[in-house]
């Protein structure tokens, strides 16, 4: 049976997505950074960001979404894994056991009080890893559709 081509290109979706996209990406970052205290976190943020890129894919096409990401999503997976694994190491230098969280408080003139920590680094790793993994699957399927 011949596969039916799908084409969802509509003006409304197209315009809406270009307005929504920056907001969604910002929102995903917001979710990522507030995650430690309020609902959110790397996993949720990553899913939102991945959905944002997927929206671009549906509103325009595979190429546009691919160009928007610039890097191959599998590279994001790799970077995410490395960051998450790196977060395990600093504790070893302080003689603590593997993966013990380290916290550094920084006071910056504009941003105010800033809590930097290895869990944050870890969460960023999760964030990138989730984006990468979801988009790898989405892009691979879309590419198969494309060709």
């Amino acid at each position: 049976m011949k596969p039916r081509r799908f084409n969802m290109r509509s003006l409304i979706l197209n315009t809406g997505s270009s307005l929504l996209l920056p907001l969604l990406v910002l929102f995903s970052l917001f979710l990522l950074f507030r995650g430690h205290d309020e609902p959110g976190g790397g996993f949720i943020g990553g899913l939102v960001a991945a959905a944002a890129v997927a929206l671009k894919l549906f509103a325009e096409d595979y190429k546009a979404a691919r160009d928007m990401l610039r890097v191959h999503p599998l590279q994001l997976v790799g970077i995410g894994l490395v960051l998450a694994a790196l977060a395990a190491l600093p504790a070893l230098f302080f003689g603590q056991s593997f993966f013990t969280a380290q916290w550094w408080s920084v006071d910056l003139p504009i941003f105010g009080h800033l809590k930097l920590s290895t869990p944050l680094l870890f969460d960023i790793g999760v964030f990138l890893g989730v984006i990468g993994a979801v988009l790898t699957v989405v892009f691979t399927l879309a590419e198969a559709e494309h060709s």
Binding site: H36, A51, F122, V137, V138, L141
Partner: protein, 797 residues
């Protein structure tokens, strides 16, 4: 001490850069490390030769009582000196031997890594760290044997060595754990001090398992076949691994454990029998071979058998004979292997039949080869003679099979003389044979190792007390378990062993005269080899792969429904069986504090599940599954698990997106399964649902221990610096779990990527390919953009 062991691994990491900086002299540069280590270990000699023991301990996994502890006594120091001393020569030699080889840097990495693992193995006091180093030697030697990995043969042989030794390694691990449990300690020093274990009820299984490990590693019959095959490695590797170090690891362990495990009937019978059989098999095969390295490899098998046999006898004399023979063998076999390499490097010959009359063109090499061969043959006044006399004396005073063992040793000795004569005479004397390369004496880097080792063999032979007082008595005491009082001497007077030596010498030389005839006479072996252990090994490997492909075809048949049936069916049977065995199953069912909106959500869930099953369109089924998911998310939110709720909503969204992408690829919605299939599926689905329901009800009713959630709730603020408990658990309390899940996610992504691209045949093969493809696409894009721009500018103008 820790630094001494780890320095090899650290230098291994930097070896390629040292190689790039050092160029031609990189071998000399890197060999400074084993030289320094040798000096360090030698500085411990005075204390150890007085019978002293040194112990060093560093915590490794304190929680599991595993520590990196090192024990230095005569035996381990003897091995450490051999490893670093011969290692020094091998690095110098290897640097020149493989000069210009494109992956010389890689060679240094693995050789240094191997050296470090071997040092760790012989110095370890802890059974667990000993085993870790044991397996590290297996892995690094696999890399070294398969060094020329472009050749299929080298890969195959490396694989064979790996499989055989890893099989033994598994048995060894079990055996060592049993040993640790039986002795009540995993520290060798404690185990050895606590006396013999032969009466323990676990004695026999632990002995057999440990021996399986040591026999495979030390190439005892019937596992002897991997050692000659490992000659696929470059010659420096063969000289190092297969003469002086790795294959002796098994011998080391048997010698090390002798005070605890030795002395029993089983030990005596097994070791003596296998040792004697290996000794005769090895030297018989050596006398038939013609490849230079092959002859040497088989004669190494013979030496390993001899050592095992001596350890099996376990008398004071045998212990001393074992360490003496071991040192003598390491000296002359290391030298002879390096000479085999020189023959290949300088003259291009690999086989004794293609060589002759080289003495005039390679005089220095000839002299060294003769000196080392004399020690191999056991001719006075070389160190090999001392070893051989002791061996004969030990065998003559054996407690069992005295005559049989003596005859076996005599036969082996005759053929050893034959092998020594082949090595000492064939390449150098007789008619000059045209060789592929113009023969010449090699560079000093190649010759210094064999020359010094051979000279040491002469020196220790002339002054045996030097070796005995230095290390051998202390080593023999460590093997024997009590101080050894016997000394070494060159001349034992005219006695039976001397007579046997002289007769074996004469018979060996006669055999050498008729070597070609001997090979012709024993050609039946070619048929016999078709039923040998190597063929059995290959059959087993083939059987394993065909079993694997059969079970893959059966279990992984590509039908999702079959996977589900297998998985769910297993769960139902195992968990259901466990549930049925529970005596007082209490199910807490109460509808009291359920609110009305919760009822509504549950009704919605049930309804959407039913519709999803009966509906006759893909899109509707997907939508219903989505509704189910959102309903569950709603439940999460009501029970104040906001994060989980959000995640569920997002996952549902992404799932729908993915399904849309896939949906258009699916065939039309049709019903293909028969009624019987449907009934079967319904039963499995129903049983799974029922089981989970009962399980959840039973578990919530039967909670006995305090839940862990209270701890998380209280500590997420003070310890985790966060108010969102779910997130604190994910990224802090249980970060390792999350990391594992992240890896799973990455694997899934790679799996999907690989599956789809393999199917369309567009999978970029390597990373660089992918980068090239990416760059190519980008270049094309930029080109088309540029074209468009020129077109636009052209139109506008």
């Amino acid at each position: 001490m820790l630094i001494a062991v780890l320095s090899c691994f650290i230098l291994a990491c930097f070896a390629p850069w040292v190689h790039r900086l050092g160029g031609r002299q990189s071998g000399w540069l890197l060999s400074l490390l084993p030289a320094a280590l040798f000096v360090y270990f030698a500085s411990l000699l005075p204390e150890v030769s007085q019978g002293g023991q040194l112990q060093f301990a560093y915590p490794w996994f304190p929680g599991l009582q595993i520590q990196l502890s090192f024990l230095i006594d005569g035996l381990s120091l003897l091995f450490a000196l051999l490893i670093t001393g011969i290692g020094f020569f091998i690095l110098v030699y290897g640097g020149r031997y493989l000069e210009g080889h494109q992956s010389l840097g890689r060679f240094y990495i693995f050789l240094l890594g191997f050296m470090g693992s071997m040092l760790g193995l012989v110095l370890s006091d802890n059974l667990i760290s000993l085993f870790v180093f044991w397996e590290l030697t297996t892995i690094t030697s696999f890399m070294l044997i398969g060094f020329n990995h472009e050749q299929e043969d080298a890969r195959k042989k490396a694989h064979q060595g790996l499989m055989v030794t890893v099989l033994g390694g598994l048995a060894l691990m079990t055996g060592l754990i049993l040993l640790g449990l039986a002795a009540g300690s995993f520290e060798l020093s404690t185990i050895l001090a606590s006396g013999t274990l032969t009466e323990h009820s676990l004695y026999l299984p632990m002995l057999l398992l440990i021996l399986l490990g040591t026999f495979t590693k030390s190439a005892q019959t019937p596992f002897h076949f991997w050692l000659p095959n490992a000659m696929a490695a470059p010659t420096p590797v063969s000289a190092y691994l297969h003469s002086a170090t790795m294959v002796k690891a098994g011998v080391y362990l048997m010698a090390r454990l002798h005070p605890s495990l030795g002395g029993s009937e089983a030990w005596l019978l097994i070791l003596t029998l296998f040792g004697a059989v290996t000794m005769v098999t090895g030297i018989f095969l050596a006398s038939r071979a013609t490849g230079i390295k092959r002859v040497l490899a088989y004669s190494t098998v013979m030496a390993l058998g001899t050592l095992t046999m001596l350890l099996g006898l376990g008398t004071e004399k045998a212990a001393l004979a074992a360490v003496t023979f071991l040192l003598a063998h390491a000296l002359y076999k290391g030298a002879l292997f390096m000479i085999a390499g020189i023959l290949d490097h300088s003259a291009g010959v690999k086989d004794f039949r293609d060589v002759g009359g080289l003495r005039s063109s390679m005089p220095a090499t000839t002299a060294v080869a003769i000196l080392a061969s004399l020690s191999l043959a056991g001719i006075i006044p070389l160190f090999g003679f001392v070893g051989k006399e002791l061996l004969l004396e030990a065998v003559l005073s054996a407690s069992i099979w005295q005559i049989g063992l003596t005859v076996a040793t005599l036969v082996a000795n005759i053929m050893v003389v034959l092998v020594a004569a082949i090595m000492a005479l064939t390449p150098w004397f007789g008619k000059t044979v045209e060789t592929p390369k113009k023969p010449h004496d090699p560079n000093v880097a190649l010759l210094i190792g064999p020359a010094l080792l051979a000279v040491l063999g002469l020196l220790f032979g002339l002054v045996p007390a030097l070796a005995a007082d230095g290390i051998l008595t202390a080593a023999a005491s460590a093997v024997y378990g009590q101080p050894v009082t016997l000394g070494l001497s060159l001349w034992h007077g005219i006695n039976l062993p001397l007579m046997l030596t002289i007769s074996s010498l004469i018979l060996g030389l006669i055999m050498f005269r008729f070597w070609a005839g001997w090979r012709h006479m024993t050609r039946f072996m070619q048929t016999a080899e078709k039923f040998g252990p190597e063929v059995i090994y290959e059959r087993l490997m083939l059987g394993m792969t065909s079993f694997a492909s059969w079970q893959t075809k059966t279990l992984q048949n590509g039908y999702l429904r079959n996977y589900l049936i297998t998985t769910l069916g297993t769960v139902i049977i195992i968990v259901g069986w466990a549930l049925l065995r529970v005596q007082h199953l209490e199910l807490h069912i109460s509808f009291d504090d359920i609110k009305i909106h919760e009822f509504a959500i549950v009704a919605l869930l049930i309804l959407s599940a039913i519709i999803a099953v009966v509906v006759r369109s893909f899109l509707a089924a997907v939508a219903m599954l989505g509704a189910l998911g959102f309903g569950v998310a709603l439940l999460y939110v009501f029970f104040s698990a906001v994060d989980v709720g959000i995640t569920q909503v997002l996952v549902e969204t992404i799932t729908v997106l993915l399904l849309v992408l896939v949906l258009y690829r699916l065939p039309e919605f049709r019903s293909l399964s028969s009624t019987a299939n449907r009934i079967r599926d319904a039963i499995i689905a129903g049983a799974t649902g029922l089981l989970m329901t009962v399980l959840v009800l039973a578990i919530t009713g039967a909670r006995q221990l305090e839940g862990i959630s209270e701890y998380f709730l209280q500590n997420s603020g003070p310890l985790g610096h966060g108010r969102n408990v779910v997130n604190v658990i994910l990224v802090d309390f249980r970060a390792l779990d999350t990391l594992g899940e992240l890896f799973v996610l990455a694997l899934v992504a790679i799996g999907v990527y690989a599956m789809i691209h393999l199917r369309t045949g567009a999978l970029p093969v390597t990373n660089s390919d992918r980068r090239a493809a990416f760059n190519f696409r980008r270049a094309q894009k930029e080109k088309s953009k540029a074209e468009q721009q020129t077109k636009e500018t052209g139109e506008s103008s």
